[in-house]
């Protein structure tokens, strides 16, 4: 643990800021509420943007999360030997494992080709994405711990599994602050409810305003997703403003009697913002104002891409409005212990066009320059067969890709052995990925710390190394 960096407790500031996510009283909560003395002198105001440690290359992140674990050897990391040795035993010594026999090799039925000027290898399952090959930095040597989904999801999202830690989006929100008046800094669209659930977008001991706002959840089509309590359930809702005027008049009286109590002031503000959000948020969430050409670009209205297309388009709308960290998740559908071929054909078809549409749209609007797009699952899949035609969980090596702000496009980074079992060149641990992501946003992962329970915590614990080779 990073126990060694302590700063003195900051002085309290009398300051009140209004944003989508927190109000004046929050400012005090970190000080008064518990032993959460945020390190660094800016901590008194949770929305104060922490000075960038490094020149930022991106202002926001869109993470496209493929829940269940996509197979790297079927999508981005072609292995000739898998097909040559299909059905033959994979021995531990072939891939540097202690175990004698790991299972039978399962070949990949998919054709790979090089794309773009850079010649990035992409499987036939991603024809639309392939057109953006030169934007992608494909990292083939990612590795993590946790061979069960729950542990791997928590490590991917929070860096740890056995203790509750803030999620990466919450860290980004804490580090960069909130840009929008009407939206929080961290939004997660259709997040998984299992495998750590809320913890994967939670704030843990960071101030609660940094928790991700969830829109729907993975098992519900995003078109049916609701933000809780956004509408009044009764017919008199038309009189709500008049009712609120009465409430606020009483509350302002109370505020003035109290000599300007910040809690009461915060309460008053929270009603006003909530009232505004009732009309602005549905507007943003609705895709009706998007031209049909754009909707088509994302595959909205076309099965099987409609749902993920809507999610990606929503992500772009949030990105435009200043949200710092946006996660888009598939349902729990990439976990193909059986029939990995059919499964991957079906799942790729759901996301290929939406992802390509997102990259195209961001790029046309000039947003890709300062938006980091990250793609991947909680782990990869085994080169060996499971149940004859499926693949198991594989945290030892898998592929993720990045695109956009600060990242070298058209690059294939790191490599795995001949079977895709272990990283060979330039291994990138999940902590390294986190460190790199913060770096691109202008934050030094060793200096983005939060003081809690008597010590400083950081996303990468005592680990993490920025992968400089992939930076533009």
């Amino acid at each position: 643990m990073s126990c060694c960096h302590f700063a003195k407790a900051p002085n309290r500031r009398d300051m009140l800021r209004v944003s989508a996510c927190g109000f004046g009283h929050v400012v005090l909560s970190a000080l008064a509420g518990r032993d959460a003395f945020a390190a660094r002198d800016l901590a008194a105001d949770p929305w104060n943007v922490r000075v960038p440690h490094i020149a930022p290359r991106a202002k926001r992140v869109i993470f496209l999360f493929m829940w269940g674990g996509p197979s790297h050897v079927d999508l981005f990391d072609p292995k000739r030997l898998l097909n040559e040795k299909a059905g033959k035993p994979l021995r531990g010594k072939d891939v540097g494992s202690d175990r004698d026999r790991l299972g039978e090799v399962l070949g990949s039925p998919f054709a790979f080709a090089q794309h773009g000027q850079s010649g990035v290898w992409i499987s036939e399952l991603f024809p639309h994405l392939a057109q953006h090959a030169d934007k992608l930095c494909v990292i083939r040597s990612v590795h993590t711990e946790g061979s069960a989904h729950g542990e791997a999801l928590l490590r991917l999202h929070t860096g740890q599994a056995n203790l509750v830690r803030p999620s990466i989006g919450a860290w980004v929100s804490y580090g960069l602050g909130c840009e929008s008046e009407n939206l929080p800094a961290f939004i997660t669209i259709s997040p998984p409810r299992g495998h750590g659930g809320v913890q994967n977008y939670g704030a843990a001991f960071l101030p609660a305003i940094h928790q991700g706002m969830a829109i729907g959840s993975a098992e519900i089509p995003v078109a049916q997703a609701v933000v809780p309590n956004l509408t009044h359930p009764r017919p008199e809702s038309g009189s709500q403003r008049r009712q609120l005027d009465l409430v606020q008049a009483f509350n302002r009286d109370h505020l003035s009697e109290s000599g300007g109590d910040q809690g009461i002031e915060g309460l008053i503000e929270s009603y006003e913002l909530a009232f505004r959000m009732q009309s602005t948020l549905p507007q943003i969430i609705s895709l009706d104002d998007e031209p049909s050409e754009i909707r088509e670009l994302y595959g909205v209205g076309t099965e099987p891409a409609d749902n993920f297309g809507r999610q990606c388009l929503l992500a772009r709308k949030f990105a435009e409005r200043g949200v710092r960290y946006i996660q888009v998740s598939t349902d729990y559908t990439w976990d193909h212990h059986n029939k990995v071929q059919e499964g991957h054909i079906a799942e790729s078809a759901k996301v290929d066009r939406p992802i390509a549409g997102l990259l195209e749209d961001l790029s046309r609007r000039g947003l890709l320059e300062d938006t980091l797009v990250l793609w991947g699952g909680e782990f990869g899949r085994t080169p060996m067969a499971e149940n004859g035609d499926g693949r198991g969980h594989h945290p030892q090596a898998f592929t993720m890709w990045m695109a956009g702000g600060g990242i070298r496009g058209g690059l294939t980074f790191g490599s795995t052995d001949d079977f895709g079992y272990r990283p060979v060149e330039n291994p990138v641990h999940m902590h390294d990925l986190h460190a790199t992501l913060l770096h691109v946003l202008g934050m030094d992962h060793e200096r983005l710390v939060y003081r809690h329970a008597g010590r400083d915590f950081r996303l990468t614990d005592v680990y993490g190394k920025v992968v400089r080779e992939i930076l533009a």
């Binding site: 003195k8 542990e151 599994a161 509750v164 659930g197 008199e236 109370h254 000599g259 909530a274 729990y332």
Partner: protein
């Protein structure tokens, strides 16, 4: 502001010494939290004070050139007392009786009444549940339901109501399963208390057994350290604590006690053998029933297999395939009934016999035994023993063994005297509150500070769970020591300390601000006035339901019985985040990673870890909840029905008064009455859609009640 305050407050964290010296346990004992309790007398005494508590506070105020503000208005005081002691606002009759009570001991009688009401334990038990990271599910990676956790929750509530002394409360939670008992009920009650050790969150899958053992112990040590001792022991897992005098050896000395304790067991769950939280049967025959229940689930796959084979065998019988039949019976002895294999019998008889077996198997399969009464209960490990230091905290890098024991900084050279073959939890449980040779002084300071926080609104030490060097220093160190001594002298009676503080003049101050005092001490650290506090999630909901006449004060057992074994199952789950009970909020389901919106929005304690003081945030989701949540609207409607129910002679104006009394515990001013009346007339008159006209009056009143719930005056305690 710093200069005058600095005279009275020593808030700044002292200069940080070289890390190397700090882990020296003996040398670290000069830190204020580890020193003996001071026997200081307050420097000031005046007519203003009712008790030494007030003298200490007054001394601090006077040193900064301040004086205490006015006493609270009786209406504010009774609401404050009710909400702080029971979590519920007073009803109009109680308010009236109190206001009219001119007896000198009116407050005292009220406080005693509240301390003795069962609602006290529901409020103060919940404070403890925050520390105990209580939950009805595991959380983390596999969110299995803790079907039996409620027994521990209710044990906490009962124990607080019975004013079980804190030293017993600690001992029973650490070692209740090891304590002697004179009846099965007593045995079970103590065992349930020790569920404290079992209810923590644990990574369940993909985990090495040894790693899991160390991680479970780490989680328990973290909880014990922060909840009882106000210390962050976790830091010493990997290296000597950099700032507190806790060497790694001390960490593993304590860890050995916990790794000598079992809180996990192999159980059959959702189709496979898993490592789950440990359960044990309750009552005379609990273990037998538990055995039968577990046996059923363990044997179910085999029973199903046998049933399938018995079916195949029946087919062979029917088809008269004699050779195949003989072979099948030989290979699957359990699948054939005795009669079916008897070749001397006619085929019809044999078929009948086989059908009989199939019916028996079907009946056995489709009739699982009921879940027996059981609870989450730890046990000493089969072979308790000392633990090895794990280098850099890595479970697979064992170093030297350390004899089991406690923290040297608190009491040097104390040999725990753990008997052969036991974990040492009995000794740990006693050491935590042992004032002479154990951590008792520190434990008393930590607890006294928590009680102060819950009554006064801010801790004397604001970092309630961190009394180490990186925590804050006390604003009133002598007062803290006085309270700790009072606690110990009263035989660790929580109720008695609550009573003393609640009856102090300091507690009864008005929350009114004062520009001059504010300029000197804006944070009110010196307590020149009462802290204005917002209702917590539970009190907010309970207060709404109570004033609506919809709150059922009956205590609840489980509120999660309808959930599946996976509390947050992937896929559709219509019953999640359920709050539609009429019971008090303390009984609502606490599903880790799936808290109800009410809890999520209003800063409920994260049930994954000890929370001594909840965060206080003001966010838009709270506004949305209050404006639109169905529970809020329904409570407002019920309140409106209550307001409209009785004929009153005073007409609408009298109804407004009644509404104020029910919801805000006071009468409106004339101006307020007129503003509310104008709103109701307006809303009932012209602002509703045509089809709702018959309802217009009711709807207008329910909007008015809803407005009352939305007032800061409702949501704050003065």
């Amino acid at each position: 502001m710093e200069i005058p305050l600095a005279l009275a407050l020593i808030l700044a964290v002292g200069p940080v010494a070289e890390a190397g010296d700090l882990a020296d346990a003996a040398g670290g004992r000069d830190h204020w939290a580890f020193r003996p309790l001071a026997h200081t007398r307050p420097a000031t005494s005046s007519d203003w004070s009712r008790s030494p508590i007030d003298d200490f506070v007054l001394t601090g105020l006077e040193a900064a050139g301040l004086k205490p503000g006015a006493d609270a208005d009786p209406l504010d005081l009774i609401r404050r007392l009710y909400l702080q002691l029971t979590g519920l606002p007073p009803d109009p009759a109680a308010v009236q009786a109190f206001v009219e009570d001119k007896g000198a001991d009116a407050v005292e009688r009220l406080v005693d009444h509240l301390l003795n009401s069962p609602q006290f334990g529901e409020r103060w038990g919940r404070h403890w549940l925050d520390l105990a990271r209580y939950a009805d599910s595991n959380g983390l990676d596999e969110n299995f339901l803790f079907r039996e956790a409620w027994r521990y929750r209710n044990w906490v509530i009962d124990s607080v109501n019975a004013d079980l002394s804190y030293d017993r409360l600690v001992l029973e939670q650490i070692a209740g399963d090891l304590l002697p008992f004179s009846s099965i009920e007593e045995r079970d009650r103590k065992r349930i208390a020790a569920g404290f050790l079992v209810i923590g969150p644990k990574v369940l899958l993909g985990n090495d057994v040894e790693r899991q053992r160390m991680e479970v112990a780490d989680e328990q040590l973290d909880t014990i350290g922060r909840a009882f001792l106000g210390l962050t022991l976790g830091c010493a897992r990997c290296h000597d604590h950099k700032f507190d005098p806790i060497p790694t050896a001390d960490y593993y000395a304590m860890a050995g006690i916990l790794t000598s304790t079992q809180v996990m067991e192999q159980r059959y769950m959702l189709g496979e053998q898993r490592v789950m939280e440990r359960l044990a049967g309750l009552g005379e025959d609990g273990d037998v029933l538990d055995g039968i229940y577990e046996e059923y689930w363990r044997g179910l796959p085999k029973m199903k297999k046998t049933r399938e084979q018995a079916g195949s065998l029946l087919e062979l019988l029917k088809n008269g395939e004699a050779t195949a039949l003989e072979e099948f019976v030989a290979n699957h002895p359990g699948a054939a009934s005795a009669g079916a294999g008897d070749q001397a019998e006619p085929i019809e008889k044999r078929i009948e016999a086989q059908n009989g077996l199939i019916a028996e198997l079907d009946a056995a399969i489709s009739n699982p035994p009921p879940i027996p009464p059981r609870a989450m209960i730890p046990a000493d490990a089969d072979a308790p023993g000392d633990e090895s230091i794990r280098r850099a905290g890595q479970f697979d890098r064992p170093g030297d063994k350390v004899a089991r024991g406690f923290l040297g900084v608190v009491a040097a050279g104390v040999k725990p005297g753990i008997p052969e073959g036991s974990s040492g939890r009995m000794e740990l449980g006693r050491w935590l509150t042992d004032v002479e040779a154990g951590a008792g002084r520190l434990t008393a300071r930590v607890l006294a500070n928590r009680i102060w926080l819950h009554l006064i609104g801010e801790g004397i030490v604001r970092t309630t769970d961190n009394f180490g060097r990186t925590g804050e220093e006390p604003s009133h160190p002598e007062l803290l020591d006085y309270l700790a001594r009072e606690l110990i002298d009263s035989g660790w009676s929580v109720k008695s300390l609550v009573r003393k503080i609640a009856l102090s003049r300091t507690f009864g101050l008005s929350s009114e601000s004062d520009a001059e005092a504010y300029a000197t001490d804006p944070d009110n650290r010196l307590l020149w006035r009462a802290n204005r506090r917002r209702l917590e999630a539970e009190a907010l909901r309970d207060a709404m339901l109570l004033s609506a006449g919809e709150l059922d004060l009956t205590r609840m057992q489980s509120t999660v019985w309808y959930l599946g074994d996976q509390a947050t199952a992937v896929g559709k789950n219509e019953v999640r985040r359920r709050t539609g009970f009429s019971c008090r909020s303390v009984y609502l389901p606490v599903i880790r990673n799936d808290l109800p919106e009410l809890f999520d929005a209003f800063n409920f304690a994260d049930p994954h870890a000890t929370t001594g003081s909840r965060p206080r945030t003001n966010v838009a989701t709270q506004g949305l909840f209050l404006l639109n949540d169905k529970m809020v609207i329904e409570a407002a409607e019920a309140a409106a029905r209550r307001v409209l129910k009785d004929e009153t002679s005073g007409g609408a104006a009298a109804r407004v008064d009644k509404m104020f009394e029910l919801i805000l515990n006071c009468k409106p001013s004339e101006d307020e009455r007129q503003r509310v009346l104008a709103f109701i007339q307006d809303a009932a008159g012209k602002n509703l859609p045509k089809q709702d006209e018959p309802d217009a009056e009711f709807r207008a009143w329910s909007m008015a009640c809803h407005a009352m719930f939305s007032l800061s005056r409702f949501q704050y305690v003065e």
